[in-house]
Symmetry: C2
Subunit: 219 residues, 2 copies
DNA sequence: ACGCGCTTTGTGACATTCTCACTAAACTTG
DNA sequence: CAAGTTTAGTGAGAATGTCACAAAGCGCGT
């Protein structure tokens, strides 16, 4: 894992001196699938930059319901973690490794140094913020204004693999949209009735991609 | 309007040199009540620091419905504007002056300089971010998991003035919560039936504060 | 004071979503 | 294969959202 910096387009512009510093002062960590990356009591002393895998960031209600806020992909960083989740400790958000995750962990002090020293790094950080906040705006928009069937169709399209399938329980899909499991079950049945998908335990197979896309775009 | 910096607790720690720079290179602007501070086509070349008044930041759906995201109060700054609303131009968010607003406008370049030069200023900026993002998390939580009556009770309590009144149409209250006007009308009627409030056109008078508080806290 | 236009609120009917309390089916493990 | 666990299905009723109006309140000009 020598030159991981090249995986972050925003960091290519860094002067060599700082790249070396970053490499020298961060360490590579590996997290198992399902591991909690941050949240509830974890006080994040590192900025994580994802090299491989994805981290799902979600929020839990007191009643146990969940909603997925966004995902951090390889090549992105968990910026909100460092700056914000500290302040927000009550019904806090948490990050879960969705796959095995490799990441570069940058200690807070190094992070601050880099922010101080480098316009390029600042740009990178602010852009990361920007992306996350855009994601949050999007979630709010969807939650407040869109119907579940349309949102579900969107999600299925986003989460599908190369074979137009996805492995997820209805419960997990409900958490993606911040709704109840029963709602998803019924919607999926309706989709199946209309021939859009084929259901089996823990799996959704998309059978009419075009129609699903059309649905996802209807208002 | 000489020493406005003192109004920002986070900026007190700035070295005098930078305080002077900030004063010298920013200018005080005044905005009329109802003015659009940013959004849709405005490309914000300034960071606004509110000296007086409040700015309401809200989002609009394509169908014309709205939801209030957060408010920027005197002593706070519109950080999200500069960094983020640029990227988010589609169904974008907008900021409206809720009252007459006085603010210090800091040009983007000065902002960058300060970020570069001052740990204290960086802290200030990141804390501002943190607060806003916390607000967004809160909105998402409420939207996804809480009943409207409880959310309405909360809002009435927050928005009330010293006489336990608030001037707002049902439509405006609906926008606060991201719901439909009819829903608010019916809830308010129910509140009135239960003796919690007294309604008249454009005005809600709270008549049983204790009960309303209790409702707002029930799950 | 009166009528006119505009804004705000009220209402019924119906669709969608949420909740609760279950049952049933599908997998897992011993 | 039996027993336990996880996942999915279902009906009933409450809460919320949508639509198409009707009614009431207010400002304004005369």
């Amino acid at each position: 894992m020598q030159d991981w910096i090249t995986r972050f387009t925003g960091l290519n512009a860094l002067p060599d001196r700082l790249k070396r510093k970053l490499m020298a002062q961060s360490r590579i960590v590996t997290l198992k699938k399902g591991a909690r990356v941050f949240g509830q009591g974890t006080s994040p002393e590192n900025l994580l930059m994802l090299l491989e895998g994805t981290v799902r960031v979600q929020q839990q209600s007191e009643t146990g319901r969940e909603i997925v806020l966004y995902r951090v992909q390889a090549g992105e960083s968990c910026v909100l973690t460092t700056a914000c989740l500290l302040a927000y400790d009550d019904h806090s958000a948490e990050g879960i490794a969705e796959t095995e995750v490799k990441a570069a962990a940058i200690p807070r002090l190094v992070f601050e140094d880099l922010i101080t020293d480098s316009t390029e790094f600042r740009q990178f950080v602010f852009q990361s913020y920007s992306r996350r906040i855009t994601d949050l705006f999007f979630v709010i928009d969807e939650l407040a204004f869109r119907r579940v069937d349309i949102r579900l169709a969107q999600k299925l399209l986003v989460l599908q693999d190369d074979d137009n399938r996805l492995s997820a329980t209805h419960q997990q899909l409900a958490a993606e949209l911040g709704t109840a499991r029963e709602v998803i079950s019924r919607q999926l049945q309706e989709f199946q009735r209309r021939g859009l998908v084929e259901l089996s335990r823990g799996v959704v197979q998309i059978t009419d991609l075009a129609a699903l896309k059309k649905l996802s775009k209807s208002e």
